[in-house]
């Protein structure tokens, strides 16, 4: 029982880690980024290249790829999203536009990765060592995803709720139309939220590449999983993404252990439907 709970939390850590970035991009920057998973894959390949080509430990690669993820997302927002943000009459229109643009972006990123790395399965071994956690053996690399999710989640929540800048982010998330009345530069805030989201995606990619096999075209799997977690947790809520990710991990593990591993996907969507029926805005979502 405790064993399954721990395994579930470790699995959920991965889900939470990839979802936190998307919740910032979708909830605050209002960009429904369909290329989110592909950003994760870019970081996976980046880690793989640094590790196999330059013998750089993936944990140190974080310090290279997370700022790179931030910079790349900043550039994407500045050059591609900003024109959309400026011409969109309201946030709903922006969401539709951003879906179309990022759908295209997804194929651009995939295409580049295919040209550079080919379509092969990529995987390597790092930190694949057992760690004893309350009597349960877990893989150190998987555990690092949970730890990173909790640490980054805690930092983000602190920033969002305890700093002036975080308050601005929340204001934009809650009322993008009214925020300018208080002197908030909504586009600028959105740009930073999008970039931080990209940095989080990169951190997820670095960690995930240590234990999961990836291909140039596997990004959509991560986008889908992250989207489920984001909607379940309430869009824009970092705490929601964290909790929803962990819940999904635990549910999947319990279903695999006590019912059938074949039903994990069904269980995920059952939880998804159930929670949305009771709380249409997600666990910690505010308004529609």
């Amino acid at each position: 029982m405790l064993e399954h709970l721990i395994n579930g939390l470790v699995l959920g850590g991965t889900y939470a880690l990839i979802a936190m970035g998307l919740t910032l991009q979708y909830g605050i920057a209002r960009i429904m980024n369909l290329a989110f998973g592909d950003t994760i894959i870019v970081a996976c390949f980046g880690t793989f290249v640094l590790f196999s080509g330059y013998q750089l430990s993936p944990l140190l690669a974080l310090f290279v790829l997370v700022p790179a993820g931030f910079a790349l997302s900043y550039a994407i927002f500045f050059f591609i999203m900003q024109p959309l943000v400026e011409r969109a009459p309201h946030t709903a229109a922006l969401e539709v536009d951003s879906i179309l643009v990022t759908f295209g972006l997804l194929f651009v990123i995939q295409g580049i990765l295919l040209v550079v790395f080919g379509g092969a399965y990529t995987s390597y071994s790092f930190l694949n060592t057992p760690v004893d956690l309350l009597g349960t053996t877990v893989a150190a690399n998987r555990l690092s995803a949970l730890v990173l999710a909790l640490v980054l989640g805690a930092i983000l929540i602190f920033v969002l709720f305890r700093t002036r800048w975080g308050m601005m982010l929340r204001a934009v998330a809650l009322a993008p139309e009214s925020a300018p009345l208080y002197g908030i530069d909504v586009t600028r805030v959105a740009r930073y939220a999008f970039s931080i989201g990209g940095a989080l995606a990169a951190s997820g990619g670095v960690v995930i590449s240590m234990y999961q096999t990836f291909t140039a075209t596997a990004g959509v799997v991560f986008t889908m999983k992250a989207l489920i977690v984001v909607i379940l947790g309430g869009k824009g809520s970092v705490f929601g993404a964290l909790v929803a990710g962990l819940i999904l991990g635990v549910v999947e593990t319990f279903v695999a252990a006590y019912i059938d591993p074949g039903l994990t996907l069904a269980a995920t969507y059952t939880v998804f439907l159930g929670i949305l029926l009771i709380r249409p805005t997600g666990l910690f979502g505010k308004g529609g």
Binding site: L114, G118, Y121, S123, T215, P261, G262
Partner: protein, 408 residues
């Protein structure tokens, strides 16, 4: 001035390039009209979830084969004439509709001389009716099916090169039975499989074989293809006390299972994994020796033909082929080339030649039985850093299975 000159010469060079490109295009069209090339078309998954499999087993062998033929002056025709191969390639984006559309296009619009098959059992079944309808020989390479004999009746231009699920599972049961009789393993088996084509077929084939051999399948679960965490399944399998763990999986699962088994220090005497365990990158992904791990396929490391093939593959493609399907697919292409050499470009004659002829390939002298290749290694095992064939046990070159598996 110097700089300016440079610019001018650059421009001239580019202009020259354009002119020669146009010239080549024109001559290519002219060449086509006079049948100075043989066009070979194929649709494979270059993107989407099947890209990883196609990129390992299928596409590199097509490239290697075309490269070698063209290096040698082209495909030989009866009478000694040689024509270079021109390739028409499509990405099916891992979509069954797309692969069917592409094959139809290759047959009706591109009017290619021959069509090579896509990757995967499902996709080969999807295009089989079209290939038969348009009269193209269909060399289904990366397709595992127990119903090949039925399919040959239904689509008389189809050829099957990878055997059926039952072939692989009965070879495995034989090995397990022998190990049990020698007292190396108990009579319990834990089996997991991916809930997708390959996993479903192989698990279905394995159940009656294992039960007939007197094994109790103590754990038998299927999991969705998107599964990435195997901690729980391995724990449950281990808890049954089974000495044999069998997983019919795709590469991402195979790699994930291996890593988890290492972390959990799970060392069942028999560890049999699915696609991916026979990839040359497997020991690297596992991060250490993998001796004793079994899977489908295998090679005879002492076969000179095979060693030479692997060296050529590595030299041309830049990486080693897998230890299962690659060599079979390459052999099918060699058979196609030899058929064309004997009977020319008439597709019906080529089909008849493939069906009845005898060929010298990387597998040695090869002859199809009822349009199927049967000269296949069913089970392989990692021994001293090589994935060697261990079944069929009575075939020349088979190694002895080493059980129990060495600890991680």
């Amino acid at each position: 001035m110097q700089k300016n000159n440079h610019k001018v010469s650059g421009f001239v060079r580019r202009l020259g390039g354009v002119i020669s490109a146009v010239a080549i295009a024109v001559s290519a069209t002219a060449a086509f009209a006079a049948e100075d090339t043989i066009t070979i078309g194929y649709a494979v998954s270059k993107s989407g979830p099947y890209a990883g499999g196609a990129d390992m087993t299928v596409t590199p062998n097509y490239q290697l084969w075309v490269h070698e033929i063209n290096e040698a002056g082209g495909l030989k025709l009866p009478g000694g004439r040689q024509l270079p191969i021109e390739v028409v390639e499509y990405d099916d984006r891992s979509s069954a509709e797309e692969v069917v559309r592409a094959v139809e296009r290759l047959a009706t619009q591109d009017k290619v001389d021959f069509i090579l098959p896509p990757w995967g059992t499902g996709f080969n079944l999807a295009v089989a009716p079209l290939m038969a309808k348009f009269g193209y020989p269909h060399l289904a390479g990366a397709a595992v099916t127990d119903r090949a004999s039925d399919f040959v009746k239904r689509w008389d231009t189809s050829f099957w090169f990878m055997g059926g699920g039952r072939d692989y599972t009965s070879a495995l049961s034989e090995i397990l039975l022998k190990a049990r009789e020698e007292g190396k393993i108990n009579d319990k088996v834990a089996m997991i499989s991916v809930a997708d084509g390959f996993g479903i077929d192989l698990a279905k084939a394995a159940r009656p074989d294992l039960e007939a051999a007197g094994f109790e399948i103590a754990y038998d679960k299927a999991f969705p293809p998107a599964t990435s965490d195997f901690a729980t399944m391995l724990n449950e399998a281990e808890a049954t006390g089974a000495d044999s763990f069998i997983a019919f999986t795709y590469p991402p699962h195979t790699f994930g299972l291996t890593k988890q088994a290492k972390v959990a220090n799970y060392n069942p005497p028999v560890l049999y994994l699915g696609v991916g365990a026979g990839f040359p990158v497997y020991p690297g992904i596992a991060g250490g020796p993998v001796d004793g791990v079994m899977s489908l396929g295998g090679v005879d490391p002492n076969s000179e033909l095979n060693v030479a093939y692997r060296a050529r593959h590595e030299a041309v493609v830049g990486r080693a082929p897998d230890y299962w399907g690659s060599v079979l697919i390459y052999a099918s292409l060699e058979m196609l080339a030899q058929s064309i050499e004997r009977v020319g470009l008439d597709r019906a004659a080529v089909t008849a030649e493939l069906s009845g002829g005898s060929f010298e390939t990387v597998l040695g002298t090869t002859k199809l039985e009822n349009n199927q290749l049967r000269n296949i290694w069913w089970t392989g095992q990692w021994q001293d850093g090589q994935f060697v064939a261990v079944a069929p046990t009575d075939r020349k070159g088979a190694a002895t299975p080493m059980l129990p598996k060495a600890d991680w």
